[in-house]
Symmetry: C2
Subunit: 339 residues, 2 copies
């Protein structure tokens, strides 16, 4: 079976590695950059991410989208949320052709969305947008505590593959699961997607707390209150707050809020130490999704009316230059009531 | 108002510090050791825990239980679970007298249980036992992400005070809350207690994973699956699994499973590095509650029939000398199904 992975970043490298470990026959990996694709095919290494890591033999990289999609019934989208629309709008014919040929051959075209951000200008949830761009494909959303560096290093981890169609979630599970990566299926596509982008905002706040010298107790309080905010947002969009007790919720939140490897955590930490957002962004090589999400969130329908104090303070600190110390202290001092 | 705190350990020192910061008029602190009590009154420092930390002026330490209880309507029990029964059985008259005089004066005698373990021989939940020992007192259980070292250092934190009687929870909230410590009230006494002792088992497992060199992804998976186990146990005892989304559940779990300051985490880490339980215990100055809890748990009614794989492996590693590497690997490799 051919599998298509789109996106040559760090998490794309992680997904390719997992598919290889799980025994994929052939992985067609789309990278925007043709030199990167050439180097991957020549060296079996991604020159831009984890170049010390040898990629699975089954990898074939290409900058040609049609070639990458060819004969694959499942396509993993692993580009930053900001690149999702362009990926489709620059090659509408290739996607249309893919969807049609899969259906004509009797297969179900499946999009496994691995992104953890929001589309901007206009703001939209990635699954909503993908659903309208490819109305006859079935969506699966993959999320969990999956730091790419650890995945690439072969350390064990686990994730959730959620879909409204159980068979599609099981197909992704079958492709990805191995003795180093457990994949649970789930039916709450909305909850898994919202958790995936919202946790980045909490991670920025946790990084700020850390940068301000606050300890583990304070971080645990932020994460716990962040989980409550996340639950309100999931419910708002019609997802299930109970999903947040699982790997895509608590699991991913813990890892993103605890690890200096997390880009979003780093953004918060640097901002707390006095750098401006512009300075931080100019120094980071890959997108920290939380920065865009913190701005885009408020454009989603009716979100401004929700009680999301942490996300609100993160927005003000990043985009309105509010002092992190003052803002985080305000958060810690909110009046306590019934939990 | 006089407040009584029982227990001169590290968390007793933390509770005393919080009560002082919140403006207590007088804190009567019972320490078993008379020399410790003398030193505290003389130096305003606890010679055994955080001796560099100056205690609040309002502290009066004593090894006389009746003196400590005198005129206090709220008593904080901050001894290791293993010491709770003895505390009552060695002075039944003092407790009886306290309960009676409080009631006679028109006050509600309140026991705020801060312990996070199980009674052993026979196994019993501390709140169950306290409820039968002092049937006319009202129970509150305090729990949350509260590493004592950070609390004593003045860092911000938060906790839940849970009770079947809202007024009692609010009394504890009023005594403890300050600009550095937020106290939420809750009504799920059982959920808060179960979370408090069960998280120590998950922390031992997390310490083992860390000691085996596993990374942040694996730890997040363990914590998340541990939360699911905890939910089954809470439901079994008639508590509310939703409590676990809060500070006493996720919050405390995160901090205990992430910090080398946690004694239970340390036990797991050392066991994974090859020390036996006997060696570890001989080197630690204070009780790691999880060690006793991991043994006692299975004596609670009907618990053996529950699906608690992490707690089970921790038991086997600590008490049956199972190899940590094999056991933790088995946990990570359990077949994945719907989450």
């Amino acid at each position: 079976v051919c599998i298509c992975v789109i996106g040559g970043g760090s998490w794309g490298t992680g997904v390719v590695t997992l598919l290889g470990a799980a025994g994929a026959a052939r992985i067609q990996w789309h990278c925007r950059n043709s030199e990167q694709a050439l180097a991957i095919n020549r060296d079996k290494r991604n020159p831009e991410h984890f170049p010390e890591h040898e990629l699975p033999d089954q990898v074939y990289a290409t900058d040609d989208l049609s070639e990458a999609l060819d004969s694959c019934s499942i396509v993993y989208i692993v580009v930053p949320a900001g690149g999702v629309r362009e990926l489709f709008e620059s090659h509408p014919g290739a996607w249309e052709f893919w969807q049609d040929t899969q259906l004509a051959s009797g297969a179900t075209p499946i999009i496994c969305n691995c992104s953890k951000g929001l589309l901007v200008d206009p703001t939209e949830r990635t699954d909503d947008w993908l659903g309208s761009a490819l109305p006859r494909a079935t969506l699966v959303h993959l999320s969990g505590p999956n730091l790419a560096a650890e995945i690439v290093a072969g350390e064990p981890a686990a994730a959730v593959a959620a879909s409204n169609t159980e068979a599609a979630a099981k197909s992704v599970q079958a492709q990805l699961a191995s003795d180093r990566f457990r994949v649970y299926t789930g039916d709450d596509l909305i909850g898994v997607e919202v958790a995936g982008f919202y946790k980045n905002l909490i991670a920025i706040a946790a990084g700020m707390a850390h940068g301000l010298g606050l300890g583990n107790n304070a971080r645990a309080v932020l994460i716990t209150r962040g989980l409550a905010e996340m639950g309100r947002l999931v419910a708002h969009f019609g997802g299930k707050p109970a999903t947040l007790s699982g790997l895509a919720g608590v699991g991913d939140l813990i890892v993103t809020c605890s690890s200096p490897l997390s880009r979003n955590f780093q953004v918060g930490q640097r901002r707390a130490r006095g750098q401006s957002l512009a300075e931080i962004e100019s120094e980071m090589s890959e997108t920290a999704e939380g920065v865009n999400t913190s701005r885009a969130l408020w454009q989603l329908p009716h979100v401004v009316a929700l009680e999301l104090p942490i996300a609100q303070q993160v927005y003000r600190i990043l985009h309105e230059n509010l002092d992190p110390k003052e803002a985080i202290t305000q958060l810690m001092l909110r009046p306590a009531k019934a939990e």
